[in-house]
């Protein structure tokens, strides 16, 4: 997410690395930053105001005469970006009531992802020990109620609905509130309203009526991150009608540059609370402006990664692995388990982008598929006997062939895995004795030393050539021939 905008900004900012900084070239560079923002769907006024603010601060004497003007400028851009998205005081809490039912109303344009987001939010609340209830108040779209019911079933959350022919959205919401209060243990009621255009007066009035009659504690706007300049118009209209408490941005997992995200907050002043980053039910994250600014400027987002890891990793499992490591008994079995833990965080590409300094590596790997490699490794380890996993040294050629056959790989792949594992377990043992800081440094050293160079470790994706697969022997022979000929030629020239 935000790759496009970050590439554009980084590209435009690259001027500060070239030669001396003058007021002239700072202005020119910032003009390009503005272009990048506009291409990323940031609203025209927001982009212009942003650049004016940055320019004001960047061309002053304080920057030019500072020790490191280039870092100073990046610092200014970073600060302004974070401020634009909400600043350090960004409020991503739902303000749940201590007791009683908190009512959360979701609204937005058609197709912005309201129903899916309702499901994700309910899932998030439930996993934090708060009991939610979903309300199908979308009586317009065919089968919207069924969709919410199915979602509710999947995540085990009750869904309140009525027959659309004999009810109205307002009535559904009011009855649902009564129902929730009666049930006793429900703490959050999530109203899934129908999608509507912000210029449709009748439907907007209906929304206001729900707002008046049910008094939701939180009115959240669901906004498609791919929206263009119009995002601002609709957000403004919804905010005027309802006094929004927050915005949820959806579909940030595409290659959208997310400029709408930057604009909505700046124009309406409503904080962005959550972002949807995938189709799966658990792909909803809290929004942190500073972390997002980190990501946009390619500084990674280690905090989200660590939090994610803490939530998703099995703690006992990790502790056990750590002990094994310290004892120097890290086996393939442990390796497989660790790998599966990491997989819970998402795809390798996603993870790498969050680690500072590895974002560029992830970009290099765009046409490779590390996840497939991981799956293959998983398969290979799965095809080994318990004894082999404990003690990979016993794997001879015949065992190797059997493993390859069992996992549908090449014996050479198995060999490579064993070699890599050998090197790695040695390193890990060394690292087990270090503290966190030293460990991070070691990993960084590896990255710089080419250990994590994608070309060295991972295979290119299979290429289907029209000539059919390359014959290794033939290629070797061809090269030999060419060398011979070159040698002959050299001899000839000497004479």
């Amino acid at each position: 997410m935000f790759e496009g905008i970050s590439q554009g900004i980084r590209g435009a900012l690259s001027f500060i690395d070239r030669g001396r900084l003058t007021e002239g070239n700072i202005r020119e560079g910032l003009r390009q930053v503005r272009q990048a923002l506009l291409e990323a769907d940031v609203h025209y006024d927001v982009a212009t105001a942003f650049i004016t603010r940055v320019t004001e601060q960047a061309v002053g004497d304080r920057v030019l005469k500072s020790l490191r003007p280039s870092e100073h400028i990046i610092g200014i851009v970073y600060q302004e970006l974070a401020l634009l998205m909400g600043g350090p005081a960004n409020d991503s809490s739902l303000h749940l009531k201590r007791d009683g039912v908190t009512v959360v109303m979701m609204c937005g344009l058609q197709g912005s992802g309201k129903t899916t987001t309702c499901g994700k939010l309910a899932h998030m609340l439930r996993s934090r020990g708060v009991a939610p209830m979903l309300v199908a108040a979308d009586l317009q779209r065919p089968a919207a109620i069924e969709q919410l019911k199915i979602l509710g079933q999947q995540i085990g959350v009750p869904v309140y609905s009525e027959d659309p022919a004999q009810s109205s959205p307002v009535r559904v919401c009011r009855n649902a509130l009564k129902e929730a209060k009666k049930a006793g243990d429900i703490r959050v009621l999530i109203l899934d309203t129908a999608g509507r255009l912000h210029v449709d007066d009748a439907l907007m009035r209906e929304l206001i009526e729900i707002d008046n009659r049910c008094q939701p504690d939180q009115a959240l706007l669901v906004c498609d991150a791919m929206t263009g300049q119009d995002a601002v118009n609709s957000a403004r209209a919804f905010n005027e009608a309802l006094e929004l408490d927050g915005v949820i941005l959806t579909k940030l997992d595409g290659d959208t540059r997310g400029g709408a995200a930057l604009s909505v907050k700046a124009v309406t002043g409503v904080p962005i609370k959550f972002v949807g980053v995938g189709e799966q039910i658990d792909k909803l994250q809290e929004f942190h402006p500073e972390r997002m600014a980190d990501r946009i400027l390619g500084m990674g987002d280690i905090r989200t990664l660590v939090e994610d890891a803490q939530r998703k990793f099995d703690e006992d499992e990790m502790r056990r692995a750590q002990e094994q490591l310290e004892k120097g008994e890290f086996t393939l079995d442990d390796f497989q388990k660790q790998m599966r833990q990491i997989k819970k965080l998402g795809s390798m590409g996603e993870i790498m982008k969050m680690i500072p300094g590895l974002g560029a590596v992830a970009e290099k790997m765009a046409d490779m598929n590390p996840d497939q490699d991981l799956r293959q490794i998983d398969g290979m380890i799965g095809s080994m006997t318990a004894e082999e996993r404990r003690n990979p040294r016993i794997i001879d050629r015949s065992r190797r062939n059997r493993i390859a056959q069992g996992s549908g790989t090449d014996p050479a792949d198995v060999h490579k895995l064993l070699k890599d594992f050998d090197a790695m377990s040695g390193m890990m043992q060394k690292m087990a004795g270090m503290n966190m800081r030293q460990r991070m440094q070691a990993v960084k050293g590896m990255a710089e030393g080419g250990m994590l160079d994608p070309g060295a470790q991972l295979r290119k994706e299979k290429q289907r050539s029209k000539r059919g697969p390359m014959d290794v022997v033939k290629v070797r022979e061809d090269r030999k021939k060419k060398r011979k000929e070159a040698k002959k030629q050299r001899k000839k020239n000497r004479r």
Binding site: Q35, L38, E39, A40, D41, H43, Y44, D45, L109, Q110, G111, S112, G113, R141, P142, A143, A144, E146, Q147, K149, I150, L151, Q154, L197, H198, V199, D224, M226, T227, G228, Q229, D230, A231, N233, S234, K251, D253, G254, D255, T256, R257, G259, A260, E279
Partner: protein, 313 residues
């Protein structure tokens, strides 16, 4: 002309936005200077047409009228010509409004298969219903294939539409292979002698590589059953989409070589200007526009009307 009015109505917001800002801006007799051009640029950018397209219009204006007194008609003339040139692109993008089916390539014999794709929530299913109604109105029999087997209740949504339209539908349970639904749909259409088979697909973000490959597979499987099909591969684009629309168009084209765009949700305040950028960069034409929530609200796209409706009162 009814069609023209409808489109104009849908675009009236755009028009007022452009006109109100711009009429104050370009007053006959005044000098066209940079500050005025900057405000006009803002208006163009706000239509989502992209920096490149807006720049080309602005620079044309600057070249022809910059620093001179404004001749209002001449200025508008330049803007319109430039915009039309951008929209026309290479190749033919003009469809006969009198023949509503002219944008579609129909098969000579056997069923015509129309594959509809797009990202999540752009209005694929609704557009399919409208298109089916459109075809029925023009005397073609239609069969729907509910290829969205991923999203909860998507099949039910299309089934409800098919009941309202009174057309046949081929479905499979949620989670089945969408390509097999498409195949079954084509088979049924061929057997029953139905004219058009419209294949729905699940919404997918263009960055999800395997989902895009799945789309390619659906196309191949259809071709296996009905040679030469799917004759039409339409991308549904939300008019509110910004510059990401370009990425959508290019990725979906890579997967299924799209033949055209249905521009949906043009009834809001969004302008769908991104189609200008798409036309400019990839030459993909807009074939239909969705201008409302009712089943009749689908129109053949006419670039002249599009531009005209933008700039006439």
């Amino acid at each position: 002309m009814a069609l023209f009015d409808k489109l104009k109505g849908a675009l009236s917001k755009t028009k007022t936005l452009l006109r109100t800002d711009v009429r104050d801006l370009f007053r006959s007799g005044e000098i066209l200077d940079e500050s005025r051009l900057a405000v006009f640029e803002k208006a163009l950018i706000e239509s989502d047409m992209g920096v490149a397209a807006a720049d080309s219009i602005i620079s044309e204006l600057r070249e022809q009228h910059g620093g001179r007194t404004v001749q209002i008609d001449a200025v508008w003339g330049t803007v319109k010509t430039q915009l039309r040139a951008l929209l026309a692109g290479e190749g033919e993008a003009r469809f006969d409004a009198a023949d509503p089916l002219s944008p579609l390539q129909m098969a000579a014999g056997g069923p015509t298969v129309i594959l509809v794709a797009g990202v999540n929530g752009v209005g694929k299913t609704t557009s399919i219903a409208k298109l089916a109604h459109f075809l029925q109105k023009n005397g073609r029999s239609v069969l729907l294939a509910a290829g969205d087997t991923f999203r909860a209740a998507a099949v039910e949504q299309l089934t409800l539409w098919s009941q309202r339209l009174g057309c046949e539908i081929v479905t499979k349970p949620q989670g089945s292979d969408p390509a097999s639904v498409a195949y079954a749909g084509c088979e049924r259409a061929a057997e029953a002698g139905i004219d058009c088979c419209i294949v729905d697909t699940a919404g997918r973000l263009q960055t999800h590589k395997n989902l895009m490959e799945e789309l390619g597979k659906i196309r191949r499987v259809i071709e296996k059953r009905v040679p030469g099909a799917p004759q039409e591969r339409l991308l549904v684009l939300d008019a509110t989409t910004g510059q990401n629309g370009i990425s959508q168009a290019s990725s979906f084209s890579e997967a299924i070589d799209c033949t055209g765009i249905i521009l949906a949700k043009l009834d809001g305040t969004a302008k769908g200007g991104v189609v200008v950028a798409i036309r400019q960069k990839m030459g993909m034409p807009v074939k239909y526009v969705g201008v409302g929530e009712k089943i009749d609200d689908l129109q053949v796209f006419d670039p002249d009307d599009f531009v005209e409706a933008l700039f006439t009162t």
